[in-house]
Amino acid sequence: MSAAGQGQNLTFATDREGTSAKPENQGQPVLVAKDVVVDYGGVHAVNRVSLSVAAGEVLGIIGPNGAGKSSFLAALGGQVRRASGTISLDGHEVSGLLPHQRARLGLARTFQTTSEFSRMTVFENLVTAAEGDTGSSLKAVVLHPRRTAQREQELVSHAWEVLERFEMTQVANLYGGELSGGQRRLVEIMRCLMRRPKVLLLDEPMVGVAPHLTGKLISDLRGISRDGLAIVVVEHAMEVVRKLCDRVMVMAFGEVIASGTFEEVAQDATVQSAYLS
């Protein structure tokens, strides 16, 4: 696509969905990162990046390939260790915690390379992703069989709800490894929603998703975020960013070069030169 074409997209007027209804808990920052640095053997992939996302808000991160977007998400999720900086999640300092500990505090994420459980059915993929942390532990399973069975029932009906919402009931019995690329993305997102997270990190969630579902996914995500979920989404498709995100942060060479509303960053000269040309 030519730079001119993208520029045109960028100047579209806002028609973001669901901006009118604001929830009560909006405005409370749930994920705050300050001066996060990620090093891969001395190279700063992420250099002093900060963000603050509130419940009910969708923050987009855009930027050219290799800008450090995925590395920054990995630092937030705990998949890579940050070299310095602080990350707080729902009031807890989490920068020293392991991924599963952050997950238990309400963080869910998808990965740029799809990460479905390939030898488990779609349905099992979903019920494995449960809210709460210890319901599937050995201790719970052995010592509290009744509670476990009850929890299973709840998970099963929740899973059917989510499958229906994403029009995926037909593939419930397929193995993750038998799905198409777009379906795998959807499984990842559904898995996250099964966990009723407080913060959702999405790394290029729309890649390979069919157009009619993209629109639906955008309105679903906005709807869920309005119920008090904070979303950080890395995305290359400008249309998606424009419709989905309240605020946009632009990264290049590991640093934030601009941030603001979609319209503001689209007008920004630095962004135009670093990203769009």
């Binding site: 998949q79 991924p99 479905e116 488990m120 099992e124």
Partner: protein
């Protein structure tokens, strides 16, 4: 008892012991993706511990065999001690080898652990009588009824089948539980599993210790039947026989494990041991390894998921008609 009866009973007992190993490795590898190439060490420690806690106090360096922990424990403490030994050693080995390390490195570390263990036990004679090993091990459960394992192999057969049945039911139940599902998630994608709140290190350690406990038990069961145990009985290669069995039978499917353990260790390996020697001495023994290799290759070419693959869970949407859905009690409340 006829020679044939003795032979069949022995095969069945070996089957039970190998099935215990198959169950343990299937839990660890088939469900959790933990590649325990050191499995045999945990069986060996169970056998040694069962031996020394039933042999009575060691008579020391001058006697024909010396060992640690000598005691006369009654049933069931002998087998409990063997089980605990397998679990404890697994915990120790697991704590340093299963931490944040890639799976292939873990497999290599565990293989090396089994080589080191063999050297240590062979060289450290005061521990378990070195390379000569221990002999004269009895059967505490049989002693309660005044019989020995060699006198009543059928009794021993029934007993070992009972033990393996209990373990089979327990482990397959656990594997079908939400806990077992978490193990499979970890097997399929560790990064995603931990991002969903599963504590990978702890899950890995749990299957390692449970598998180790079963291994210890299997060692105790084996040594109380054959009465002797030495480094010759637990070469690292024995682990691969069981791995072949679960590959051929079907990884992630306990019925497949039963089939694989019947086919590979019992039919291919144990039966030739009882056949008359053909060719030069040792030919049959070395052919066993050819058989193992062939089984792997055939399996990879023709049934990469084994004869009985992992079974798919089939679910139907809540609205769909199911058997019983029309009955009054199934109506929405």
């Amino acid at each position: 008892m006829s020679a044939w009866g003795f032979y069949v009973a022995t095969l069945l007992i070996y089957f039970a012991v190998d099935l215990l190993s198959g169950i343990a490795l299937n839990l660890q590898f088939g469900y959790a993706g933990v590649v325990n190439f050191g499995y045999i060490v945990f069986q060996a420690v169970g056998a040694y511990v069962a031996a020394v806690v039933t042999l009575g106090p060691s008579l020391g360096a001058g006697s024909y065999q010396q060992y640690i922990l000598g005691a006369h424990l009654p049933f069931p403490l002998d087998l409990l001690a063997a089980t605990a030994a397998g679990a404890l050693l697994s915990l120790l080995v697991g704590l340093f080898s299963l931490r944040r390390m890639r799976r292939d490195y873990q497999a290599a570390v565990l293989l090396i652990v089994s080589l080191i263990a063999l050297q240590v036990v062979s060289a450290d004679v005061p521990l378990f009588n070195g390379s000569n090993g221990l002999t004269g091990v009895g059967w505490p459960l049989g002693q309660l009824f005044g019989v020995t394992a060699t006198q009543s192999p059928w009794l021993y057969t029934v007993w070992s089948l009972v033990v393996v049945a209990v373990v089979f039911v327990g482990v397959s139940w656990l594997s079908r539980s939400p806990w077992g599902r978490s193990l499979r998630a970890m097997r399929d994608n560790q990064g995603a599993a931990s991002a969903m709140g599963l504590n990978i290190t702890s899950l890995r350690l749990q299957v390692f210790v449970i598998g180790g406990a079963i291994a210890g038990l299997s060692g105790g069961l084996l040594v109380e039947y054959i009465g002797a145990w030495s480094p010759g009985a637990w070469g690292y290669a024995e682990t691969f026989v069981i791995f072949t069995a679960i590959f051929v039978g079907g990884v992630g499917n306990y019925r497949g494990v039963v089939l694989g353990v019947l086919l590979v260790p019992v039919i291919f390996l144990e039966i030739p041991r009882f056949l008359p020697a053909i060719g030069y001495p040792g030919l049959t023994a070395s052919l066993e390894w050819v058989v193992i290799g062939l089984a792997w290759m055939l399996c990879i070419f023709f049934r990469p998921r084994g004869i009985l693959p992992e079974r798919r869970l089939h679910v139907t949407p809540p609205g769909a008609l199911e058997p019983g859905a029309l009955q009054p009690e199934a109506a929405p409340r």
